[in-house]
Symmetry: C2
Amino acid sequence: MSYFDAASSAPLHPVARQALHASLDEGWADPARLYREGRRARLLLDAAREAAAEAIGCRPDELVFTTSGTRAVHTGIAGALAGRHRVGSHLIVSAVEHSSVLHSAEAHRHTGGTVSEVPVLRTGAVSPAAYTDALRPDTALACLQSANHEVGTRQPVAAVAEACRGAGVPLLVDAAQSLAWGPVEGGWSLLTGSAHKWGGPAGVGVLAVRKGVRYAPQGPADERESGRSPGFENIPAVVAAAASLRAVRAEAAAESVRLRELTDRIRARVPELVPDVEVVGDPVDRLPHLLTFSCLYVDGETLLHELDREGFSVSSGSSCTSSTLTPSHVLKAMGVLSEGNVRVSLPLGTPAEEVERFLAVLPRTVAAVREKLGAPAAAVAPAPAASPTSPASDELVVDALGRRCPIPVIELAKVITDVPIGGTVRVLSDDEAARLDIPAWCEMRNQEYVGEEPAPRGTAYVIRRTTP
Amino acid sequence: MSYFDAASSAPLHPVARQALHASLDEGWADPARLYREGRRARLLLDAAREAAAEAIGCRPDELVFTTSGTRAVHTGIAGALAGRHRVGSHLIVSAVEHSSVLHSAEAHRHTGGTVSEVPVLRTGAVSPAAYTDALRPDTALACLQSANHEVGTRQPVAAVAEACRGAGVPLLVDAAQSLAWGPVEGGWSLLTGSAHKWGGPAGVGVLAVRKGVRYAPQGPADERESGRSPGFENIPAVVAAAASLRAVRAEAAAESVRLRELTDRIRARVPELVPDVEVVGDPVDRLPHLLTFSCLYVDGETLLHELDREGFSVSSGSSCTSSTLTPSHVLKAMGVLSEGNVRVSLPLGTPAEEVERFLAVLPRTVAAVREKLGAPAAAVAPAPAASPTSPASDELVVDALGRRCPIPVIELAKVITDVPIGGTVRVLSDDEAARLDIPAWCEMRNQEYVGEEPAPRGTAYVIRRTTP
């Protein structure tokens, strides 16, 4: 079994397990009590806070433990916005933030706030200039992840922090994906993280708020964690979280080199081994353990299922795997192919052999899924048209209404050579992924994407054949 | 060492420890993922939900896991109020609810809602009639604990639920203190609980919302736990929580009889062994493991410290032990003595010998604290006046300004016999506890409490001597 989805949740680090076991006996009492069980619990909590603060790069009294990374984000954004409500109610986020940030932004919008979403480049990174342009006199808070959770691209946090500082706007950095690898550089104001992403237990997030940052806790009062995180402290888990953060940091230098070699190898080999693949995300400025690619003519859910049968646990930003039937907002913002999307994120210690076995298994797995779906057999060779609704001519219409990704793209690929060069294909589709994947297919295939038009049902996507 | 503070946090039950260890290997992955680690995690989560729902007395799809009892209360109250905002914004709570409920009520008031606090009898219980009187056409939600956390008194939940049902108002029951002993009877609409109170791990609360109850989750959206509890699920802890709830329920019938005998013994013996003690809370309709008493002329913090030195961990609702310097809102609402307050809550399995040792140690500990504070030596015998600011006469003034509890009451006791029967003593005090403790002393001593008057500094409490 190869678990390649560390970005969702890392397996518990052995140090976390030891620390958890050890502190179950010492850390169950109320740290606010003055008797010895309470004092022991308080000592453990204080020591964990110091260790975590040192690893994060803040003062212990700037750090509180929350119950998850999501809670840290929700709490931190709400508190920072409320702390600066006199300045204004404008919030800036990047278009590729984690859903916890985007959901906070949505909630802010609901209560009358305004939100700017900074677009990203095709690599997934924001441009510092674009981010700076979004800053306004009424900006209460800016948010930027340290690195993207779906494609691994690192964000220019230091440059954006500099711009925010110049504008007097606090910057909240969601560092959930990068804290295992090191502290976040640059002058951030607030920072959030999630222990189960670095091999700690579930149930622990971190929220750091620099001294001097205006902050007003929201919701019902509670005296725990400086009034910033209500509820009885989960001390054994907090101790395990802090211990494992130190432990993974001790391995980070060596493991980041080794895992980067492995992910570089996957990035290089996949397009050689599998036709019609787009590797996405910044090739260099990225997390060492994570890479993402998308496969044309593949149903992501079926691919994940087949890879699971072969012993590989990976995840996907394809709409085909989500219940909402919309493709990942990250891939959408990047403007890259979403169909057959696979994210590989290697846990610490992943053996090179597992990666080799993945590279051995992947090509035949993708081929099998494509065959099942009736995808064009070869990468470039034209395939016989299956169900065009009008005879071959300069203009051809493909009715893919009611068909889910990747069928609309497969149908398009089947018929593109049925029109002469200069001729057009109109694909009728009501699948949201087509909006992203048809233009991406055109770019990969060097065909011209003309645009979309409203249709009686769904949308008509118009493609002009420009390449033999 | 005798840990007698189970009501704050119970030691981890052995079954919880086993379940936690076992599920650390199986429950760390994301239960929303379709690969095998995710499916395993999902199975564990589903099984834990079924087990917990059965013990609580609801359907599995009515139950979500939160990150603490406090979170369950905050979340449940906010969601229920929002779900019924069209009906009105009136919230009812009892005066002796847990701070998480009262803080939610305060937050509700802050955003324009109205709150009624139902008073309690001297036992700590609400009267169903008084609760019913508080119901209004615009009442959105009513809250009542199953049993009080400080004095153990059970609340008439079934009768209040009946009244609420008649008025079409949902009732939220905070069952944190009673879930170990059995499900909550009666037609509640929402229910909350906290795993570390029943021997489960920290980091797990429960929130049940009956089908048909209007409920609108507040705050940023999140798909976890039916959208009612954001953040990555803490499955090992949830599994341990459910397993330990079943385990303590299996012991509940026998342990409730045994512990009730022990607490009955403490309730009976303490007033015999220690002079000037008031045992508070309902003597019969109460939790089996919990009792509370207050000792005249004693500083609660010093008493707890001395008991800790003797090996007993207990807690207190005295203002003397809290940083806010206001006495427990529970004792205040009951109108009972708060000084020298001690809460004893026995964990499952507490040996009878530990209770006997407590009864052996308590009298000399209380006596030592009283001696150190210069309290009247005997219970009834008059003591020489220490510092009356006017000579003995029909009216005597004691200046206790700047002195904390229990000093104002000690000074009063010292001089009461310096005035003739029918004469008065005026105690000047700026300690908030005096407002509660001077009338309570009068009741215990059969003296007449005339009332309070504003004074140039603090308050003048007027006492008439009626008893030799």
